[in-house]
Amino acid sequence: MYKAIRSESFAAWAFMAPGLLFLAVFTFWPIIYGIPLSLTDYSVITETHFVGLDNFTRAFQDHNFLISLWNSLVYVLVVPVIQIISILMAILVNSRIPGVKMFRAAYYIPVVTSMVAVALIWSWLLGNNGVVNYLLLKVGILSEQVSWLSTSSTALYVLMFITMWKGLGYYMMLYLAGLQGIPADLYEAARVDGAGPLRLIIHVTLPLLRPHILFCTVISVMGAVRVFDEVYILTKGGPGTSTLTSSVYIFQKGLEQFNFGYASALGLIVSVMVAALSVLVFRLNRRGGVNTY
Protein backbone atom coordinates (compact mmCIF):
# COMPACT_ATOMS: atom_id res chain seq x y z
CA MET A 1 0.00 0.00 0.00
CA TYR A 2 2.72 2.42 1.05
CA LYS A 3 4.70 1.59 -2.04
CA ALA A 4 1.67 2.06 -4.24
CA ILE A 5 1.11 5.57 -2.90
CA ARG A 6 4.76 6.40 -3.38
CA SER A 7 4.79 5.35 -7.00
CA GLU A 8 1.56 7.22 -7.55
CA SER A 9 3.15 10.27 -6.01
CA PHE A 10 6.11 10.00 -8.33
CA ALA A 11 3.84 9.63 -11.35
CA ALA A 12 1.77 12.63 -10.27
CA TRP A 13 4.78 14.93 -10.04
CA ALA A 14 6.13 13.60 -13.32
CA PHE A 15 2.85 14.44 -15.03
CA MET A 16 2.67 17.90 -13.50
CA ALA A 17 6.33 18.82 -13.96
CA PRO A 18 6.11 20.53 -17.37
CA GLY A 19 3.01 22.55 -16.48
CA LEU A 20 4.34 23.55 -13.08
CA LEU A 21 7.63 24.56 -14.64
CA PHE A 22 5.84 26.96 -16.96
CA LEU A 23 3.67 28.27 -14.14
CA ALA A 24 6.76 28.78 -12.01
CA VAL A 25 8.50 30.83 -14.69
CA PHE A 26 5.56 32.81 -16.02
CA THR A 27 3.10 33.02 -13.14
CA PHE A 28 4.93 32.66 -9.83
CA TRP A 29 8.22 34.27 -10.81
CA PRO A 30 6.66 37.62 -11.81
CA ILE A 31 4.91 37.79 -8.44
CA ILE A 32 8.12 36.97 -6.55
CA TYR A 33 10.62 38.87 -8.68
CA GLY A 34 8.47 42.01 -8.70
CA ILE A 35 9.31 42.52 -5.02
CA PRO A 36 13.12 42.79 -5.16
CA LEU A 37 12.84 44.63 -8.46
CA SER A 38 10.68 47.27 -6.80
CA LEU A 39 13.53 48.04 -4.37
CA THR A 40 15.95 48.98 -7.16
CA ASP A 41 16.25 51.65 -9.79
CA TYR A 42 16.63 48.97 -12.47
CA SER A 43 16.38 50.36 -15.98
CA VAL A 44 18.17 49.27 -19.13
CA ILE A 45 20.15 52.50 -19.45
CA THR A 46 21.97 52.97 -16.14
CA GLU A 47 23.63 50.78 -13.57
CA THR A 48 21.28 49.21 -11.05
CA HIS A 49 21.31 50.30 -7.42
CA PHE A 50 19.42 49.15 -4.37
CA VAL A 51 17.27 52.10 -3.37
CA GLY A 52 15.23 50.67 -0.50
CA LEU A 53 11.74 52.04 -0.29
CA ASP A 54 12.51 55.12 -2.39
CA ASN A 55 10.26 53.95 -5.23
CA PHE A 56 7.34 53.66 -2.84
CA THR A 57 7.80 57.08 -1.26
CA ARG A 58 8.23 58.50 -4.74
CA ALA A 59 5.04 56.75 -5.87
CA PHE A 60 2.90 58.38 -3.23
CA GLN A 61 4.25 61.79 -4.20
CA ASP A 62 3.81 61.11 -7.90
CA HIS A 63 0.84 63.22 -8.88
CA ASN A 64 0.13 61.26 -12.06
CA PHE A 65 0.21 57.94 -10.23
CA LEU A 66 -2.31 59.17 -7.68
CA ILE A 67 -4.54 60.39 -10.52
CA SER A 68 -4.21 57.01 -12.21
CA LEU A 69 -5.26 55.26 -9.00
CA TRP A 70 -8.27 57.54 -8.73
CA ASN A 71 -9.23 56.89 -12.35
CA SER A 72 -8.95 53.14 -11.78
CA LEU A 73 -11.20 53.48 -8.78
CA VAL A 74 -13.75 55.43 -10.84
CA TYR A 75 -13.49 52.71 -13.46
CA VAL A 76 -14.75 50.16 -10.93
CA LEU A 77 -18.12 51.95 -11.05
CA VAL A 78 -18.67 50.04 -14.29
CA VAL A 79 -18.96 46.80 -12.26
CA PRO A 80 -22.46 47.20 -10.76
CA VAL A 81 -23.79 48.49 -14.10
CA ILE A 82 -22.44 45.42 -15.90
CA GLN A 83 -23.95 43.08 -13.29
CA ILE A 84 -27.41 44.64 -13.45
CA ILE A 85 -27.63 44.74 -17.24
CA SER A 86 -26.14 41.30 -17.77
CA ILE A 87 -28.48 39.71 -15.22
CA LEU A 88 -31.44 41.28 -17.03
CA MET A 89 -30.04 40.06 -20.34
CA ALA A 90 -29.62 36.56 -18.92
CA ILE A 91 -33.21 36.51 -17.70
CA LEU A 92 -34.32 37.65 -21.14
CA VAL A 93 -32.37 35.01 -23.06
CA ASN A 94 -33.47 32.35 -20.59
CA SER A 95 -37.00 32.59 -22.03
CA ARG A 96 -38.14 29.44 -23.77
CA ILE A 97 -39.10 30.95 -27.11
CA PRO A 98 -38.04 30.06 -30.65
CA GLY A 99 -34.88 31.75 -31.91
CA VAL A 100 -33.59 32.72 -28.50
CA LYS A 101 -30.30 30.87 -29.08
CA MET A 102 -29.62 33.09 -32.06
CA PHE A 103 -29.89 36.16 -29.84
CA ARG A 104 -27.57 34.63 -27.26
CA ALA A 105 -24.95 34.17 -29.95
CA ALA A 106 -25.46 37.71 -31.25
CA TYR A 107 -24.91 39.21 -27.80
CA TYR A 108 -21.78 37.15 -27.38
CA ILE A 109 -20.03 38.29 -30.55
CA PRO A 110 -18.44 41.42 -29.00
CA VAL A 111 -16.79 39.11 -26.45
CA VAL A 112 -14.98 37.02 -29.04
CA THR A 113 -13.91 39.96 -31.17
CA SER A 114 -10.52 41.54 -30.56
CA MET A 115 -10.41 44.68 -28.46
CA VAL A 116 -8.49 46.35 -31.26
CA ALA A 117 -11.41 45.92 -33.64
CA VAL A 118 -13.98 46.91 -31.02
CA ALA A 119 -12.00 50.00 -30.09
CA LEU A 120 -11.61 51.05 -33.72
CA ILE A 121 -15.31 50.65 -34.43
CA TRP A 122 -16.33 52.71 -31.41
CA SER A 123 -13.76 55.40 -32.09
CA TRP A 124 -15.43 56.00 -35.47
CA LEU A 125 -18.94 55.79 -34.12
CA LEU A 126 -18.00 58.31 -31.44
CA GLY A 127 -16.06 60.67 -33.72
CA ASN A 128 -17.10 64.30 -34.26
CA ASN A 129 -19.01 63.48 -37.42
CA GLY A 130 -19.78 59.99 -36.22
CA VAL A 131 -23.03 58.11 -36.03
CA VAL A 132 -23.51 58.62 -32.28
CA ASN A 133 -23.36 62.42 -32.49
CA TYR A 134 -25.58 62.35 -35.56
CA LEU A 135 -28.26 60.24 -33.88
CA LEU A 136 -28.17 62.14 -30.59
CA LEU A 137 -28.42 65.48 -32.42
CA LYS A 138 -31.29 64.16 -34.47
CA VAL A 139 -33.38 63.07 -31.48
CA GLY A 140 -32.48 66.31 -29.72
CA ILE A 141 -30.55 64.88 -26.77
CA LEU A 142 -27.51 66.92 -27.85
CA SER A 143 -27.52 70.48 -29.14
CA GLU A 144 -23.99 70.38 -30.55
CA GLN A 145 -21.36 67.80 -31.47
CA VAL A 146 -19.33 66.32 -28.63
CA SER A 147 -15.79 64.99 -29.12
CA TRP A 148 -16.48 62.12 -26.79
CA LEU A 149 -12.98 60.71 -26.58
CA SER A 150 -11.02 63.97 -26.60
CA THR A 151 -13.01 65.80 -23.95
CA SER A 152 -11.61 65.34 -20.45
CA SER A 153 -15.01 65.20 -18.79
CA THR A 154 -16.42 62.43 -21.02
CA ALA A 155 -13.45 60.31 -22.13
CA LEU A 156 -13.23 58.06 -19.06
CA TYR A 157 -16.97 57.34 -19.08
CA VAL A 158 -16.91 56.57 -22.78
CA LEU A 159 -14.13 54.03 -22.19
CA MET A 160 -16.16 52.51 -19.37
CA PHE A 161 -19.10 52.25 -21.73
CA ILE A 162 -16.98 50.39 -24.31
CA THR A 163 -15.66 48.01 -21.64
CA MET A 164 -19.22 47.36 -20.55
CA TRP A 165 -20.48 46.81 -24.09
CA LYS A 166 -17.75 44.29 -24.85
CA GLY A 167 -18.14 42.43 -21.56
CA LEU A 168 -21.93 42.15 -21.27
CA GLY A 169 -22.19 38.94 -23.28
CA TYR A 170 -19.60 37.17 -21.15
CA TYR A 171 -21.35 37.90 -17.88
CA MET A 172 -24.71 37.16 -19.50
CA MET A 173 -23.50 33.61 -20.25
CA LEU A 174 -22.25 33.07 -16.69
CA TYR A 175 -25.56 34.25 -15.27
CA LEU A 176 -27.48 32.19 -17.80
CA ALA A 177 -25.65 29.10 -16.55
CA GLY A 178 -26.74 30.07 -13.05
CA LEU A 179 -30.35 30.60 -14.09
CA GLN A 180 -30.51 27.21 -15.76
CA GLY A 181 -29.43 25.61 -12.52
CA ILE A 182 -32.47 26.99 -10.66
CA PRO A 183 -35.11 24.27 -10.35
CA ALA A 184 -38.34 25.13 -12.17
CA ASP A 185 -40.57 23.99 -9.30
CA LEU A 186 -39.28 26.86 -7.15
CA TYR A 187 -40.80 29.28 -9.64
CA GLU A 188 -43.92 27.13 -9.82
CA ALA A 189 -44.33 27.24 -6.05
CA ALA A 190 -43.85 31.01 -5.92
CA ARG A 191 -46.31 31.46 -8.76
CA VAL A 192 -48.91 29.38 -6.96
CA ASP A 193 -48.42 31.72 -4.01
CA GLY A 194 -49.38 34.54 -6.35
CA ALA A 195 -45.99 36.13 -7.06
CA GLY A 196 -45.73 38.30 -10.19
CA PRO A 197 -42.70 38.40 -12.55
CA LEU A 198 -40.95 41.16 -10.59
CA ARG A 199 -41.36 39.40 -7.26
CA LEU A 200 -40.15 36.16 -8.81
CA ILE A 201 -36.94 37.92 -9.82
CA ILE A 202 -36.40 39.57 -6.44
CA HIS A 203 -37.37 36.67 -4.21
CA VAL A 204 -36.38 33.61 -6.23
CA THR A 205 -33.90 34.47 -8.98
CA LEU A 206 -31.56 36.94 -7.27
CA PRO A 207 -31.05 35.05 -3.99
CA LEU A 208 -30.28 31.82 -5.87
CA LEU A 209 -27.93 33.67 -8.20
CA ARG A 210 -25.83 34.99 -5.32
CA PRO A 211 -22.80 32.75 -5.84
CA HIS A 212 -22.73 33.77 -9.48
CA ILE A 213 -23.08 37.43 -8.60
CA LEU A 214 -20.16 37.11 -6.21
CA PHE A 215 -17.99 35.36 -8.81
CA CYS A 216 -18.85 37.84 -11.56
CA THR A 217 -18.35 40.84 -9.29
CA VAL A 218 -14.91 39.69 -8.23
CA ILE A 219 -13.68 38.99 -11.74
CA SER A 220 -15.11 42.24 -13.10
CA VAL A 221 -13.60 44.30 -10.27
CA MET A 222 -10.21 42.77 -11.08
CA GLY A 223 -10.85 43.40 -14.77
CA ALA A 224 -11.83 47.03 -14.17
CA VAL A 225 -8.75 47.78 -12.09
CA ARG A 226 -6.50 46.10 -14.64
CA VAL A 227 -8.20 47.65 -17.68
CA PHE A 228 -5.63 48.35 -20.33
CA ASP A 229 -6.35 47.50 -23.95
CA GLU A 230 -9.23 49.86 -24.66
CA VAL A 231 -7.56 52.77 -22.87
CA TYR A 232 -4.22 52.19 -24.52
CA ILE A 233 -5.68 51.89 -28.02
CA LEU A 234 -8.14 54.77 -27.79
CA THR A 235 -6.70 57.50 -25.57
CA LYS A 236 -3.28 56.40 -24.19
CA GLY A 237 -4.42 58.01 -20.94
CA GLY A 238 -5.35 61.35 -22.49
CA PRO A 239 -6.60 63.99 -22.95
CA GLY A 240 -4.22 65.21 -20.24
CA THR A 241 -4.45 62.59 -17.54
CA SER A 242 -8.22 62.19 -17.71
CA THR A 243 -8.16 58.50 -18.69
CA LEU A 244 -4.80 57.57 -17.22
CA THR A 245 -5.56 54.30 -15.42
CA SER A 246 -3.02 52.56 -13.23
CA SER A 247 -2.21 49.79 -15.73
CA VAL A 248 -1.59 52.32 -18.48
CA TYR A 249 0.66 54.34 -16.21
CA ILE A 250 2.61 51.25 -15.13
CA PHE A 251 2.99 50.24 -18.77
CA GLN A 252 4.25 53.70 -19.69
CA LYS A 253 6.78 53.75 -16.86
CA GLY A 254 7.90 50.16 -17.44
CA LEU A 255 7.76 49.23 -21.08
CA GLU A 256 7.83 52.66 -22.72
CA GLN A 257 10.29 54.49 -20.45
CA PHE A 258 12.04 51.31 -19.22
CA ASN A 259 11.94 52.26 -15.53
CA PHE A 260 11.46 48.64 -14.51
CA GLY A 261 12.20 49.21 -10.82
CA TYR A 262 9.75 52.05 -10.38
CA ALA A 263 7.07 50.34 -12.49
CA SER A 264 7.38 47.18 -10.37
CA ALA A 265 6.82 49.22 -7.23
CA LEU A 266 3.72 50.78 -8.77
CA GLY A 267 2.52 47.33 -9.82
CA LEU A 268 3.01 46.01 -6.33
CA ILE A 269 0.98 48.84 -4.81
CA VAL A 270 -1.85 48.23 -7.27
CA SER A 271 -1.74 44.45 -6.68
CA VAL A 272 -2.10 44.90 -2.94
CA MET A 273 -5.03 47.23 -3.52
CA VAL A 274 -6.75 44.78 -5.89
CA ALA A 275 -6.27 41.93 -3.42
CA ALA A 276 -7.76 44.10 -0.65
CA LEU A 277 -10.65 45.05 -2.90
CA SER A 278 -11.47 41.41 -3.72
CA VAL A 279 -11.30 40.46 -0.05
CA LEU A 280 -13.73 43.30 0.62
CA VAL A 281 -16.15 42.03 -2.02
CA PHE A 282 -15.99 38.53 -0.49
CA ARG A 283 -16.57 39.94 3.01
CA LEU A 284 -19.54 42.01 1.91
CA ASN A 285 -21.06 38.88 0.43
CA ARG A 286 -20.34 36.68 3.43
CA ARG A 287 -22.25 39.08 5.64
CA GLY A 288 -25.29 38.15 3.59
CA GLY A 289 -24.93 34.61 4.91
CA VAL A 290 -23.88 32.87 1.72
CA ASN A 291 -20.77 30.72 1.94
CA THR A 292 -20.84 28.92 -1.36
CA TYR A 293 -17.27 29.74 -2.31
Binding site: G19, T27, A177, S264, A275
Partner: protein, 272 residues
Protein backbone atom coordinates in the same frame (compact mmCIF):
# COMPACT_ATOMS: atom_id res chain seq x y z
CA UNK B 1 -53.62 35.82 -25.71
CA UNK B 2 -51.70 36.88 -22.63
CA UNK B 3 -48.90 34.52 -23.61
CA UNK B 4 -48.74 36.00 -27.11
CA UNK B 5 -48.39 39.49 -25.68
CA UNK B 6 -45.60 38.36 -23.38
CA UNK B 7 -43.75 36.81 -26.28
CA UNK B 8 -44.16 39.99 -28.29
CA UNK B 9 -42.63 42.09 -25.50
CA UNK B 10 -39.74 39.64 -25.14
CA UNK B 11 -39.05 39.69 -28.88
CA UNK B 12 -39.09 43.49 -29.00
CA UNK B 13 -36.59 43.64 -26.13
CA UNK B 14 -34.42 40.94 -27.71
CA UNK B 15 -34.34 42.78 -31.03
CA UNK B 16 -33.53 46.15 -29.44
CA UNK B 17 -30.67 44.54 -27.51
CA UNK B 18 -29.48 42.82 -30.68
CA UNK B 19 -29.32 46.20 -32.42
CA UNK B 20 -27.28 47.58 -29.54
CA UNK B 21 -24.87 44.65 -29.48
CA UNK B 22 -24.64 43.94 -33.21
CA UNK B 23 -25.31 47.43 -34.61
CA UNK B 24 -21.68 48.55 -34.51
CA UNK B 25 -20.60 45.43 -36.43
CA UNK B 26 -23.33 45.82 -39.04
CA UNK B 27 -22.32 49.45 -39.46
CA UNK B 28 -18.68 48.39 -39.87
CA UNK B 29 -19.73 45.90 -42.53
CA UNK B 30 -21.73 48.62 -44.23
CA UNK B 31 -18.81 51.10 -44.18
CA UNK B 32 -16.43 48.49 -45.53
CA UNK B 33 -18.73 48.03 -48.53
CA UNK B 34 -19.04 51.75 -49.28
CA UNK B 35 -17.11 53.33 -52.08
CA UNK B 36 -14.61 55.97 -50.93
CA UNK B 37 -16.55 59.20 -51.07
CA UNK B 38 -19.63 57.76 -49.46
CA UNK B 39 -17.75 57.24 -46.22
CA UNK B 40 -17.05 60.89 -45.55
CA UNK B 41 -20.57 62.05 -46.20
CA UNK B 42 -22.23 64.41 -43.78
CA UNK B 43 -24.63 63.34 -42.29
CA UNK B 44 -22.62 60.13 -41.82
CA UNK B 45 -23.55 57.39 -44.21
CA UNK B 46 -25.12 54.49 -42.40
CA UNK B 47 -26.06 52.38 -45.39
CA UNK B 48 -24.03 52.36 -48.62
CA UNK B 49 -25.73 53.79 -51.70
CA UNK B 50 -24.18 51.00 -53.71
CA UNK B 51 -22.12 48.05 -52.62
CA UNK B 52 -18.53 47.72 -53.77
CA UNK B 53 -15.72 45.44 -52.69
CA UNK B 54 -13.04 47.97 -53.70
CA UNK B 55 -11.95 48.57 -50.11
CA UNK B 56 -11.33 44.87 -49.58
CA UNK B 57 -9.39 44.52 -52.83
CA UNK B 58 -7.29 47.62 -52.19
CA UNK B 59 -6.46 46.98 -48.57
CA UNK B 60 -5.64 43.35 -49.40
CA UNK B 61 -3.22 44.54 -52.06
CA UNK B 62 -1.75 47.20 -49.83
CA UNK B 63 -1.26 45.20 -46.66
CA UNK B 64 0.43 41.84 -46.75
CA UNK B 65 -2.61 40.07 -45.30
CA UNK B 66 -1.50 36.51 -46.10
CA UNK B 67 1.64 37.15 -44.07
CA UNK B 68 -0.27 38.51 -41.07
CA UNK B 69 -2.78 35.69 -41.29
CA UNK B 70 0.02 33.11 -41.34
CA UNK B 71 1.66 34.85 -38.34
CA UNK B 72 -1.62 34.77 -36.46
CA UNK B 73 -2.30 31.13 -37.32
CA UNK B 74 1.20 30.05 -36.25
CA UNK B 75 0.98 31.94 -32.95
CA UNK B 76 -2.53 30.63 -32.30
CA UNK B 77 -1.65 27.01 -33.11
CA UNK B 78 1.44 27.10 -30.93
CA UNK B 79 -0.55 28.63 -28.09
CA UNK B 80 -3.37 26.12 -28.36
CA UNK B 81 -1.07 23.09 -28.52
CA UNK B 82 0.96 24.25 -25.51
CA UNK B 83 -2.17 24.95 -23.51
CA UNK B 84 -3.89 21.66 -24.26
CA UNK B 85 -0.75 19.62 -23.65
CA UNK B 86 0.31 21.36 -20.43
CA UNK B 87 -3.08 21.80 -18.80
CA UNK B 88 -4.14 18.18 -19.44
CA UNK B 89 -0.89 16.83 -18.00
CA UNK B 90 -1.13 19.09 -14.96
CA UNK B 91 -4.82 18.63 -14.29
CA UNK B 92 -4.93 14.84 -14.60
CA UNK B 93 -3.07 13.95 -11.37
CA UNK B 94 -4.86 16.74 -9.52
CA UNK B 95 -8.16 15.09 -10.39
CA UNK B 96 -7.35 11.40 -10.04
CA UNK B 97 -4.12 10.72 -8.14
CA UNK B 98 -3.63 10.61 -4.41
CA UNK B 99 -0.25 12.04 -3.53
CA UNK B 100 1.49 14.14 -0.93
CA UNK B 101 1.58 17.84 -1.83
CA UNK B 102 -1.67 17.73 -3.76
CA UNK B 103 -3.29 20.32 -1.53
CA UNK B 104 -0.17 22.46 -1.66
CA UNK B 105 -0.25 22.55 -5.45
CA UNK B 106 -3.92 23.32 -5.40
CA UNK B 107 -3.53 26.20 -2.93
CA UNK B 108 -0.66 27.62 -4.95
CA UNK B 109 -2.75 27.55 -8.11
CA UNK B 110 -5.72 29.23 -6.45
CA UNK B 111 -3.50 31.91 -4.91
CA UNK B 112 -2.36 33.02 -8.35
CA UNK B 113 -5.96 33.80 -9.20
CA UNK B 114 -6.40 35.99 -6.15
CA UNK B 115 -3.11 37.86 -6.43
CA UNK B 116 -3.27 39.89 -9.62
CA UNK B 117 0.16 40.67 -11.02
CA UNK B 118 0.24 44.04 -12.66
CA UNK B 119 3.99 43.73 -12.87
CA UNK B 120 3.79 40.39 -14.69
CA UNK B 121 4.27 41.89 -18.11
CA UNK B 122 7.46 43.69 -17.12
CA UNK B 123 8.97 40.56 -15.61
CA UNK B 124 7.81 38.51 -18.61
CA UNK B 125 9.63 40.95 -20.84
CA UNK B 126 12.85 40.52 -18.85
CA UNK B 127 12.43 36.73 -18.78
CA UNK B 128 11.85 36.48 -22.52
CA UNK B 129 14.90 38.67 -23.17
CA UNK B 130 16.98 36.52 -20.81
CA UNK B 131 15.95 33.41 -22.77
CA UNK B 132 16.91 35.23 -25.99
CA UNK B 133 13.39 34.76 -27.29
CA UNK B 134 12.76 38.43 -28.09
CA UNK B 135 11.33 38.94 -31.58
CA UNK B 136 10.26 35.27 -31.84
CA UNK B 137 6.84 33.63 -31.94
CA UNK B 138 7.87 31.42 -29.03
CA UNK B 139 8.45 34.57 -27.00
CA UNK B 140 4.89 35.61 -27.83
CA UNK B 141 3.40 32.25 -26.84
CA UNK B 142 5.35 31.02 -23.82
CA UNK B 143 4.07 33.42 -21.12
CA UNK B 144 0.54 32.22 -21.90
CA UNK B 145 1.49 28.58 -22.58
CA UNK B 146 -0.56 27.33 -19.66
CA UNK B 147 -3.18 28.99 -17.52
CA UNK B 148 -4.58 28.13 -14.12
CA UNK B 149 -8.05 28.61 -15.55
CA UNK B 150 -7.50 25.84 -18.11
CA UNK B 151 -6.05 23.53 -15.47
CA UNK B 152 -9.21 23.96 -13.39
CA UNK B 153 -11.40 23.36 -16.39
CA UNK B 154 -9.56 20.16 -17.31
CA UNK B 155 -9.48 18.98 -13.70
CA UNK B 156 -13.25 19.34 -13.69
CA UNK B 157 -13.43 17.19 -16.81
CA UNK B 158 -11.09 14.50 -15.48
CA UNK B 159 -13.15 14.26 -12.28
CA UNK B 160 -16.02 13.03 -14.43
CA UNK B 161 -14.07 9.98 -15.63
CA UNK B 162 -14.95 6.78 -13.72
CA UNK B 163 -12.07 5.43 -11.61
CA UNK B 164 -12.66 1.94 -13.03
CA UNK B 165 -11.00 3.04 -16.23
CA UNK B 166 -7.68 3.56 -14.54
CA UNK B 167 -7.99 0.42 -12.46
CA UNK B 168 -8.73 -1.73 -15.46
CA UNK B 169 -5.72 -0.28 -17.25
CA UNK B 170 -3.57 -1.12 -14.24
CA UNK B 171 -4.85 -4.70 -14.17
CA UNK B 172 -3.69 -5.05 -17.73
CA UNK B 173 -0.29 -3.80 -16.66
CA UNK B 174 -0.31 -0.52 -18.54
CA UNK B 175 1.90 2.31 -17.31
CA UNK B 176 0.31 5.50 -15.92
CA UNK B 177 1.32 7.41 -19.01
CA UNK B 178 -0.17 4.79 -21.33
CA UNK B 179 -3.42 4.78 -19.36
CA UNK B 180 -3.49 8.56 -19.68
CA UNK B 181 -2.84 8.68 -23.41
CA UNK B 182 -4.81 5.65 -24.60
CA UNK B 183 -7.66 5.30 -22.12
CA UNK B 184 -8.32 8.66 -20.48
CA UNK B 185 -7.56 11.26 -23.13
CA UNK B 186 -10.06 9.89 -25.69
CA UNK B 187 -12.79 10.39 -23.06
CA UNK B 188 -12.11 14.06 -22.45
CA UNK B 189 -12.20 15.29 -26.03
CA UNK B 190 -15.06 17.72 -25.31
CA UNK B 191 -13.07 19.35 -22.50
CA UNK B 192 -10.03 19.59 -24.75
CA UNK B 193 -12.20 21.21 -27.42
CA UNK B 194 -13.35 23.83 -24.94
CA UNK B 195 -9.89 24.93 -23.80
CA UNK B 196 -8.75 24.76 -27.41
CA UNK B 197 -11.50 27.16 -28.42
CA UNK B 198 -10.90 29.51 -25.50
CA UNK B 199 -7.25 29.72 -26.45
CA UNK B 200 -7.95 30.16 -30.16
CA UNK B 201 -9.96 33.25 -29.27
CA UNK B 202 -7.38 34.54 -26.81
CA UNK B 203 -4.36 34.13 -29.07
CA UNK B 204 -6.14 35.31 -32.21
CA UNK B 205 -7.12 38.57 -30.51
CA UNK B 206 -3.93 39.21 -28.60
CA UNK B 207 -2.25 42.41 -29.69
CA UNK B 208 -0.31 44.05 -26.89
CA UNK B 209 2.13 41.36 -25.85
CA UNK B 210 3.07 40.60 -29.49
CA UNK B 211 3.86 44.29 -30.00
CA UNK B 212 6.05 44.30 -26.89
CA UNK B 213 7.97 41.14 -27.82
CA UNK B 214 8.20 41.48 -31.59
CA UNK B 215 10.50 44.22 -32.88
CA UNK B 216 9.73 43.43 -36.47
CA UNK B 217 6.24 44.56 -37.61
CA UNK B 218 6.44 41.92 -40.35
CA UNK B 219 5.96 39.33 -37.61
CA UNK B 220 2.86 40.96 -36.14
CA UNK B 221 -0.36 39.00 -35.85
CA UNK B 222 -3.54 40.46 -37.34
CA UNK B 223 -4.81 42.38 -34.32
CA UNK B 224 -1.43 44.05 -33.85
CA UNK B 225 -1.12 44.79 -37.57
CA UNK B 226 -4.51 46.45 -37.40
CA UNK B 227 -3.32 49.07 -34.92
CA UNK B 228 -0.42 49.66 -37.25
CA UNK B 229 -2.76 50.11 -40.23
CA UNK B 230 -4.92 52.48 -38.23
CA UNK B 231 -1.91 54.59 -37.32
CA UNK B 232 -0.86 54.96 -40.95
CA UNK B 233 -4.19 55.32 -42.68
CA UNK B 234 -6.51 56.95 -40.24
CA UNK B 235 -7.80 59.04 -43.16
CA UNK B 236 -8.72 56.02 -45.23
CA UNK B 237 -11.71 54.87 -43.35
CA UNK B 238 -13.00 52.33 -45.84
CA UNK B 239 -9.67 50.51 -45.95
CA UNK B 240 -9.42 50.20 -42.19
CA UNK B 241 -13.04 49.05 -42.01
CA UNK B 242 -12.33 46.36 -44.61
CA UNK B 243 -9.11 45.37 -42.81
CA UNK B 244 -10.95 45.15 -39.52
CA UNK B 245 -13.65 42.97 -41.10
CA UNK B 246 -10.98 40.65 -42.51
CA UNK B 247 -9.43 40.25 -39.05
CA UNK B 248 -12.73 39.81 -37.24
CA UNK B 249 -14.59 37.46 -39.58
CA UNK B 250 -12.53 34.28 -39.06
CA UNK B 251 -12.95 34.37 -35.30
CA UNK B 252 -16.67 35.14 -35.53
CA UNK B 253 -17.12 32.21 -37.92
CA UNK B 254 -15.17 29.90 -35.61
CA UNK B 255 -17.34 31.05 -32.75
CA UNK B 256 -20.62 30.59 -34.60
CA UNK B 257 -19.74 27.04 -35.59
CA UNK B 258 -18.54 26.03 -32.13
CA UNK B 259 -20.70 28.14 -29.86
CA UNK B 260 -22.38 25.14 -28.25
CA UNK B 261 -19.14 23.72 -26.82
CA UNK B 262 -17.69 27.12 -26.17
CA UNK B 263 -20.62 28.37 -24.13
CA UNK B 264 -20.88 25.11 -22.21
CA UNK B 265 -17.22 25.53 -21.35
CA UNK B 266 -17.66 29.08 -20.10
CA UNK B 267 -20.68 28.01 -18.08
CA UNK B 268 -18.86 24.94 -16.73
CA UNK B 269 -15.90 27.02 -15.63
CA UNK B 270 -17.87 28.80 -12.96
CA UNK B 271 -19.02 25.54 -11.42
CA UNK B 272 -15.38 24.41 -11.13
Amino acid sequence: MKKALRHLIIYVLLILLALFMMGPFLWLLSVSLMPGRNVFANPPAILPTFISFDNYVQVWEFMDFPRYIINTVVITLLGVVFNIFLSCLTAYPLATFRFRGRNLVFTLLISTMIIPSATAMIVHYLTIQAFHLGNTFLGVVLPAAVSVFNIFLMRQTFLGIPTDIRDSGKMDGASEFRIFVQLVMPLVKPGVAVIGLLEVMAFWNNFLWPIVVLDDPQKYPLAAALTYLNGQFSYNFGWIAAGTMISVLPIIIVFLFTQKYYMEGIAGAIKG
